[in-house]
Structure formats: C-alpha cells, structure tokens
C-alpha cells in the first residue's frame, strides 16, 4: 500500500466525519442523515439528495463538499420508524 496525501478538501471532509461521529449536535438527530460542513450541522433528513441540495444552498458550499452521517436511532426495531411500541415491556 502506498501513502496518499489528502488534498485540502479531502482533509476537511475527513475531519468533518471524525467530528460528526461524536458531536452531540449531530448525534441528537437519531434515525436521520445529518449534513455537516466545516464542523457545522447544516441540516438533517431522510432523503440524501434533498438534504444535500438544501444544505448546500444553506451553507453556500458545493454539494459534494458536504459530509453526510447516519445517526442510528435507539430502537429495538431495525426496520421501523420513530414510534416504538413499548407496551410489551410495561408491567
């Protein structure tokens, strides 16, 4: 394997992803895709294309410079939306 030096935008996106992986302002958007640019949250949503387009307009940046992070929902159901039925667990 060869060493590869990231250019400026690659490095920025690399750092954005690392930051987003733990930043509370990102991780609060459970079950959504979160758009991040220069360590700022530009938006969150479920459709990536729409999210990135709107985030690029909001941030005044190229859409392909935006990092998108998946934030998992704390749920017992992998395939369902936000309304977890917890009745089964209640006594």
């Amino acid at each position: 394997m060869q060493l590869y030096k990231m250019n400026e935008i690659e490095q920025q996106m690399h750092e954005d992803l690392r930051w987003a992986s733990t930043a509370p302002e990102v991780q609060q958007h459970e079950g959504l895709l979160v758009a991040v640019y220069k360590k700022q949250v530009l938006g969150a949503g479920r459709d990536r294309d729409t999210l990135v387009a709107e985030a690029a307009a909001k941030g005044g940046c190229p859409w392909h410079d935006i990092v998108v992070v998946v934030v998992p929902r704390a749920t017992l159901d992998d395939d369902r939306g936000p309304d977890l039925d917890v009745a089964f667990f209640e006594e």
Binding site: M1, Q2, L3, Y4, K5, M6, N7, I9, E10, Q11, M13, H14, D16, L17, R18, S21, T22, Q27, E30, G31, L32, L33, R46, D47, R48, D49, H64, V67, V69, V70, P72, R73, A74, T75, L76, D78, D79, R80, G81, V86, F89, E90
Partner: protein
Amino acid sequence: MIAGPTSTLLFSKNEPRVASSPPTTIPITWSIPQLKIGALSLPLARLIVGLEFRTTSLGRQTVPENCWLDTGAPISVIPFHVHGNRFLWKSAGIRGSWRGQPCDLGHIDVWLPTDQPPYLRGPISMLAKFARSDPPGDPVPVLLGLEFFLSHQAGVSLLTPPQPGAIVVP
C-alpha cells in the same frame, strides 16, 4: 485431508503488497446510544470504522464514510444513498440482493486512515453489494462485512468496551 471449497480460496487471495509496507491500524469506535424504556436502559451498540472511498467527484480522489463493522455480513454492503452518483466502482457482473433491494456485486478502491494525517494508505480493493435502491426504514451506512477481512488478511481486536478497538491490515 479436507479440501475447502474453491470459492473460498478465490475470495481469500491477497493483493500484491510492498514487502516493506508497515501494517496499517484502523481505529474501531463504539457507538452506544441508550434506549430508555421506563426504568430500563438498554445499550444499543454499534462498531464504527471510518474509511475513504474512491469518488467520481471533481477535485478529489476520496470521500470519507463511516462504516458499521458487521460480522453478520459475509460481504460488505454499500447502500444506494451512500454510493449513488458519488462512488467510482466497477461491477463484477453479478446480481444479488440486500434487505429486499436488488444489488450489483462490484469492487471499489478504499483508502485507510493513518495516525499521520493528512496521509492515508491505499488503495486496496473492497468487494461489496452496491444496492440499486434503499430499503424502507431508517438509513444505514456502509456495512463492513467479513469478506474484507478474508481478502486482506486483516485482523480485528476489541478491547473491553467502550475502549477503541482496531483493524490491522498487513
């Protein structure tokens, strides 16, 4: 003597490597959101690995994506929302499916993060299912399956949670 299946041997071949190239260690981090149900608090853990993928975007060669380390996945999966119009990959001409969505088996170059930014190591080839559409429900990131570890003879070490683990690629 027990002969193993030929297909296993095909997927276990290593790529040529430079003998002097040191092993690359990729961090694995724990994501442990808590599900609270009344007085009960359940940890719902996932293992996160950051990789860089070859992109079609102008002005750059790589884009970063978080992956979930999925030891239940024989082959890595790249959901449509992740690769669509962004990843430069090559189809192997084989169809498959993932969570009910049609997929194309293909290869993509990936680079590994190092502890000496802004440097990466690579590229190495990842075999993956490239989904043609996204399944219903919450979005998921790239699922890093076991074929990656077989084909690159990569090791995994996990310490006591939530200490970071590591993937070591020789």
